[in-house]
């Protein structure tokens, strides 16, 4: 009972319960649509672990989701509903990819420069809707969606008219050279050579793994240990209180949008320089919006974002594998996935269970009196 009072334990339990309920429901649907439901569901549940390259896909995806989840969590914590991650990712990918392609610097300079530039463009693309919200009270949902469209069109324009090789038959850049690709997360040490070769041949897990961990720590400390984090959380808790207490509400809101963009921009660099190693059309495929799911599942607390990203990434990877290796159609897979998200992000799953428990206790007033009467 006392353990249950700990918020961290409750959050953890909540995620577990919600995911289990969602999985059960998913299985029920699989039963209805598949001739071999057990096989299909097995592919879904265990697929991501069944092969080394699938495991790699899951981790890569989770890294992106962690970065985007952190971005969304930061801005949502201040109750500013920026949906701009998608656009920030695209521009982050575009800018970092262009540097990876065209800036003639050695890798140890080119890669950091590309990453910084991606973060910088994310900052700017966050600052804009932040400024519009703080000073002109422009609805951030509308403004960020519009900025997403602009970012997408800019991305396509530069890709198709300036970046793609003139006579290529597809809308993609050339593959980056080694100086523009993020190195493997396994350091190039002689005694790790085998491991490194194995990971490099089958996965794209890069040093972005460490950067994501770093980003997670930065986001957590930023939110819970710095004056900016305090301002952001107080604005989220009660904006009038923040104003009354003397917090510079406008400045903080703008910064929340912009800092959020830094993380999303980095996620874009990961897509370009880590996963695809070239710029392609539809590089983000809506992952900016999936970051919202990750953040909601983590209750906008950076502490839970990696866990939430891993769980969500796993479901996604599993669903892809089920689609490829069973008779369940893509549409049904998407339905199952959506149901899972719905259940997992439902705010009230654990509270409802607690209320049931409390109601049962109320039926025994004598016991409750003894407990509550202190």
């Amino acid at each position: 009972m006392n353990l249950l009072r700990k918020p961290a334990v409750r959050e953890f339990l909540r995620i577990i319960i919600a995911v289990s309920a969602a999985l059960l429901l998913g299985f029920f649907i699989t039963l209805l649509v598949s001739k071999q439901p057990l096989e299909a569901y097995r592919a879904f549940l265990l697929g991501p672990l069944s092969r080394f390259n699938r495991f790699g896909d899951w981790i890569e995806e989770s890294i992106t989701l962690t970065l985007v989840g952190l971005a969304v969590a930061l801005v949502f914590k201040s109750k500013q509903f920026s949906l701009g991650a998608e656009g920030q990712i695209l521009l982050g990918a575009l800018v970092s990819g262009s540097i990876a392609l065209f800036v003639p610097l050695p890798g140890y300079l080119r890669i950091p420069l590309a990453l910084l530039a991606a973060m910088g463009v994310g900052f700017v693309w966050g600052y804009l809707p932040g400024y519009l919200k703080a000073h002109l009270n422009a609805n951030e949902i509308v403004s960020t969606l519009m900025l997403n469209t602009i970012a997408l069109k800019l991305y396509d324009y530069f890709l198709i008219f300036h970046i793609k090789p003139p006579n290529a038959g597809y809308n993609a850049s050339e593959t980056f050279t080694k100086d523009g690709i993020l190195p493997s997360f396994v350091p190039p040490l002689p005694f790790l050579a085998d491991l490194r070769a194995r990971f490099m041949s089958q996965t794209n897990i890069t040093i972005m793994l460490y950067l994501a961990i770093l980003a997670f720590l930065v986001a957590y400390f930023l939110m819970y240990r710095t004056p900016f984090g305090y301002e952001l959380r107080m604005i989220g808790a009660n904006i009038k209180f923040a104003r009354y207490g003397g917090i510079n509400v406008k400045r903080t809101i703008i910064l929340a949008f912009a800092v959020s963009g830094v993380f999303a921009g980095l996620a874009g660099a990961h897509l370009a320089m880590g996963i695809h190693t070239k710029l392609i059309q539809n590089i983000s495929l809506g992952i900016g919006f999936e970051g919202i799911v990750v953040a909601l599942m983590a209750r906008n607390n950076p502490l839970f974002v990696p866990l939430s990203a891993l769980a969500y990434g796993y479901l996604r990877a599993g669903a892809d594998i089920m689609e490829r290796s069973s008779d369940v159609s893509r549409e049904m897979v998407l339905v199952i996935q959506a149901l899972i998200i719905l259940l997992v992000t439902a705010e009230q799953v654990l509270p409802v269970i607690q209320q049931r428990v409390a109601a049962r206790r109320e039926a025994q007033p004598a016991a409750s009196l003894a407990e509550g009467g202190q």
Binding site: F221, R225, T226, P227, G229, Y230, R233, M234, A237, N238, K240, F241, A242, R243, Y244, G245, G246, I247, N248, Q355, A358, A359, R361, E362, P365, S368, L369, E371, G372, G373
Partner: protein, 514 residues
């Protein structure tokens, strides 16, 4: 003969485990005025909501005229002649008084509302019970006193024999209170029974026949009012001796701290809310601002604290201009602010107590160290203030939302008093807090004054402003219409006339005392 209302051994436990009524027995005789008193959270309102069918008891029996009854909704209670006037009126502002009164049980003609009949019904009821209303005025255009009479007429129209009034005087001026009491006596003469919830003991003595005191979800006793004393009742309510009058040492008036000159404010909708307000507050004095709510007091406070822009005029704290500055700049000039609406402005409910206590100081040492906030220091600071201000909580890391109203207010007081202000602006500091906490808050305000802080006290509770203030001004329609250099020597009736706009002093008369 059985009592009219008998509530026997009522237990109410909310799903969250809070025991609101813990074996309460309560009875009301036909034709009496029965006062129900107790601190906030004592269970009075819950008990009455049970009687009115809004809440269902966990266990216990209700008997009306000796017959056991089970209410599933207020409709059941109304059918048996029980009506309740809530603290928040349930009226439709754009409809007329008469329409509001008949709403839900409208006289109709050919399926449409019969306005004439509605007006006639209202006039008859109004005459019969001596509750004056204007049937054809819209609710939004009439004052609080009339809105309350409308609410009473509404339940009388539905055939109420037993009227439950939940803190009816909280929103009224002294004159309106007197009127209300007259009406209550008329009602009783015509055979009605009244249950009167309050925490003002003076009113208990004035109006009731019997009084029941509740504390902590239990009944502490029922007395004949003429045998009870205010001190005795207060002791029963709080469980210890309470000092109803604040003792104030003589004033040591210091330098001029706040200087307000010809302050004006026009609202976003173009309404002239403050119309040239001028006054000073000196170190070591409490300047009280009395007035019926809605006469510009709220805006005055918000303009002075940087929450609203001023349209014109000047205000300085020890020479520093404070108008149209950010709230932080105003605070740094030495102003502390206890806001009128503590849930909206004064607190972030989901944030912890510790977090709420640092909103005006987190950016300075010792809380800020380099890039970081020193959480150990934040905790230590919270612990210290929790002890000094006796905030009842399991610790500083719980959300403020889990505290009682009085303790929430103490969190604000702890923060604002500990900032060691030059000027303390307190708006409605004791609204909605119980007797024990009220006593504490008043003592603290006087303590600040004794230490040489200038205090600007805005309160709708006239008795409070009068007993705490050294000087007192009355605001009416955005202007100061009267100043009383010695608040203690004025009478409630006299101030009441200024509050209602019946009397006003000329600028020349006031000049010397502002």
């Amino acid at each position: 003969m059985a009592a009219l209302v008998e509530m026997d051994n009522i237990v109410k436990i909310y799903p969250n485990g809070v025991v609101a009524n813990d074996g309460v027995s309560f009875s009301v005789e036909r034709g009496e005025i029965h006062a129900l008193v107790g601190e906030n959270g004592a269970g009075k309102t819950t008990l009455m909501k049970i009687l009115y069918g809004e809440e269902r008891p966990t266990s216990g029996v209700i008997r009306i005229n000796g017959n056991s009854v089970h209410f599933h909704s207020p409709q059941d209670a109304i059918r048996l002649g029980i009506g309740m006037v809530h603290q928040n009126f349930m009226q439709i502002p754009s409809l007329t008084v008469a329409e509001n009164i008949v709403l839900g049980k409208e006289p109709t003609r050919r399926g449409l509302l019969d306005r004439k009949a509605a007006i006639q019904i209202t006039e008859e009821l109004s005459r019969q019970y001596g509750l004056k209303v204007d049937p054809e005025a819209t609710i939004e255009s009439v004052n609080v006193g009339m809105r309350q009479r409308v609410e009473i007429l509404k339940i009388l129209y539905r055939g109420a024999q037993i009227l439950i009034l939940d803190e009816p005087t909280a929103v009224l001026t002294p004159q309106e209170t007197t009127e209300l009491f007259k009406s209550i006596r008329t009602l009783v003469k015509q055979g009605k029974t009244v249950i009167f919830i309050t925490h003002k003991l003076r009113e208990v003595k004035e109006i009731s026949d019997r009084v029941t005191v509740m504390r902590g979800g239990r009944v502490m006793g029922t007395l004949l009012t003429h045998e009870a004393t205010r001190e005795g009742l207060a002791r029963m309510m709080v469980g210890r001796d309470v000092f109803l009058e604040v003792s104030k040492p003589p004033q040591v008036r210091g330098e001029k701290v706040l200087e307000v000159c010809d302050l004006t404010y026009v609202s976003e909708t173009g309404r002239q809310v403050l119309r040239g307000v001028s006054f000073n507050v000196y170190a070591g004095e409490i300047l009280g601002v009395a007035g019926v709510e809605g006469n510009g007091q709220t805006e005055l406070v918000e303009v002075l604290t940087g929450l609203r822009p001023a349209t014109g005029g000047e205000a300085r704290v020890l020479g520093t201009p404070i108008l149209n500055r950010t709230p932080r700049a105003v605070r740094l000039a030495g102003v502390a602010h206890i806001p009128e609406d503590r849930l909206t402005n004064g607190l972030a409910l989901q944030a912890t107590i510790n977090e709420n206590l640092i909103v005006d100081r987190y950016f300075r040492p010792p809380f800020r160290r380099g890039w970081f906030i020193d959480n150990n220091e934040v905790r230590r600071h919270g612990q210290q203030l929790i002890e000094i201000f006796d905030i009842r909580t399991p610790g500083g890391e719980v959300p403020v939302a889990s505290l009682s109203g009085g303790n929430m207010q103490k969190v604000i007081l702890a923060r604002e008093f500990s900032s060691q202000p030059q000027l303390l602006i307190a708006a409605q500091p004791t609204r909605g807090v119980d007797v024990g906490a009220t006593e504490f808050i008043r003592e603290q305000l006087v303590e600040q004054r004794n230490r040489g802080t200038a205090v600007l006290l805005v309160s709708a509770d006239l008795a409070e402003v009068m007993s705490l203030s050294d000087r007192l001004v009355v605001m009416y329609e955005g202007q100061i219409t009267g100043v009383f250099p010695e608040a203690a020597k004025a009478t409630e009736e006299e101030i009441g006339y200024y509050m209602l706009g019946v009397k006003r002093q000329s600028p020349e008369e006031m000049e010397a005392y502002l």
